[in-house]
């Protein structure tokens, strides 16, 4: 329960920082995606089931957080998949930084591809070869840079919030 509360606080904070602080920055290519970092960090601790639920909830929040403007559910789908996949790696007990970074890179790529893929199916004009390439590059690059700082912080907090895994 405490972990669920923590997850909620972490995700909402990440979302607000994303739209209020990160996105206004004038960075080359694009921006990092803080939510995927948090979903991966939490799912790695909580396992596939909670990872899925958490990813879905985080994605839904990201779908409605103003000024988002796309069909509701697209990010929910993307983050749910990523939460599930990252959760499967729960047992990878002695994770090194390299593993964590690799997981984050794969998760970032997956989120962009699922979001863009669903958009392409819906005929979203914003999804094109150029925008997908830019989004992939920026999200993977910046998330990989931030991963060594944010993932251990969030994972650690989640572990402390619920020291004994109960299921």
């Amino acid at each position: 329960m405490r972990r669920a509360l923590l997850a909620g606080v972490v995700v909402i904070t990440a979302l607000l920082l994303q739209v209020g602080v990160v996105n206004p920055l004038d960075l080359p290519i694009g921006h990092p995606d803080l939510v995927v970092l948090c979903v991966v960090a939490l799912a790695l601790v909580a396992g596939p089931m909670w990872g899925t639920v958490l990813g879905f909830a985080a994605g839904l929040a990201a779908d409605v957080m103003p000024p988002a403007d796309h069909a509701l559910g697209r990010l929910a789908m993307a983050y749910a998949l990523v939460g599930y996949a990252a959760g499967l790696l729960e047992d990878l007990e002695e994770r090194s930084v390299v593993t964590t970074v690799a997981v984050v890179a794969a998760a970032s790529a997956a989120v962009v591809l699922v979001f863009a893929g669903v958009g392409a199916l819906l005929g979203d004009a914003r999804v094109g070869a150029g925008s997908v390439a830019d989004s992939l590059t920026a999200t993977i690059l910046y998330d990989v840079i931030l991963a060594p700082f944010i993932v251990p912080l969030v994972s650690g907090a989640a572990r402390r919030a619920e020291p004994v895994t109960t299921y």
């Binding site: 739209v19 409605v64 988002a68 403007d69 979001f115 914003r126 925008s131 830019d134």
Partner: protein
Amino acid sequence: MRDSGRARVVLAVLLLTAFTLITLDYRSGSGGPLRRLANAVFGPVENAVGDVARPIGSFFSGLGHLSSYKSDNAKLRKEVAQLRSQLRLTDAERARLADEEKLLHLDQLAQFRIVAAHVSAVGGSLDFESTATIDVGSRDGITANMTVIDGDGLVGKTLSVGPTTTTVLLANDVQFSAGARLESSQLIGHVDGGGRGPMTFTLLDSQGSIKVGSRLVTFGDIGQKPFVPEVPIGRVTRVVPTPGALTRTAEVTPYVGFDSLDVVGVVVSAPRTVKRDSLLPPTATPTPAPSTPPPSTPPPSSPPATPAATVSPSPSRTH
């Protein structure tokens, strides 16, 4: 392994839910009730975050100027004390003041009724979208489909409106499109956002000619929604060769810097008519301006020349 099996079921259920949501929401479009609710719930928080984040940004950009406050000269101390109120303005704050001044200038020229706002959050959704949250809403008289401008020109249009916040579709978003007119002509077409690429202007006349350096203004829509007329959009930087096509296409560099938006204004109402080309920055810019006819050919009945001589604080932002 049992857990993993259960997780798979949960995943399947949630993916199906997401799929259902997508198909349902896809039909309701941008201004649905859910977006309004989201604006009502998250908007105030975003405004608060924006208020906190902005001074932090200006603090960092102001650090470089701290040394200039330290003068040992006793004679200068008094002066410094007097000037301190001005000096305390960091670069960012000064830039913002200039932004506000420019907006006011444009506003006075146009006689628009505008509601000024700050950008409190910027959208992205993995950098596919170009949207922003501004800190005014229905309580300030904002409704969907209003023109948003800043001191340089067209910023975008309002999408969904909450009580204290509004989502704005920026003009560089791929889904943005507005009717446009070439300066000092009757040639019309539409301007479309290009995402991270340039904006494009499509001239709906295969005979008309577009010249590099020509400037574009909004054409204005029926009932002035979403766009009021005569708002400067940008200038043509390249004419795309489209032999045989029924339309002509050009790349446009917008006047507005979408990467550093801060002070914007929502046009709540505009006069029935706005004088042609009256809002464009003075042509004193060192643009090549190939064979641009001097503004000495005003349409009939239009009184001579607006105060083009007034010292405008907006020397047309061109990169």
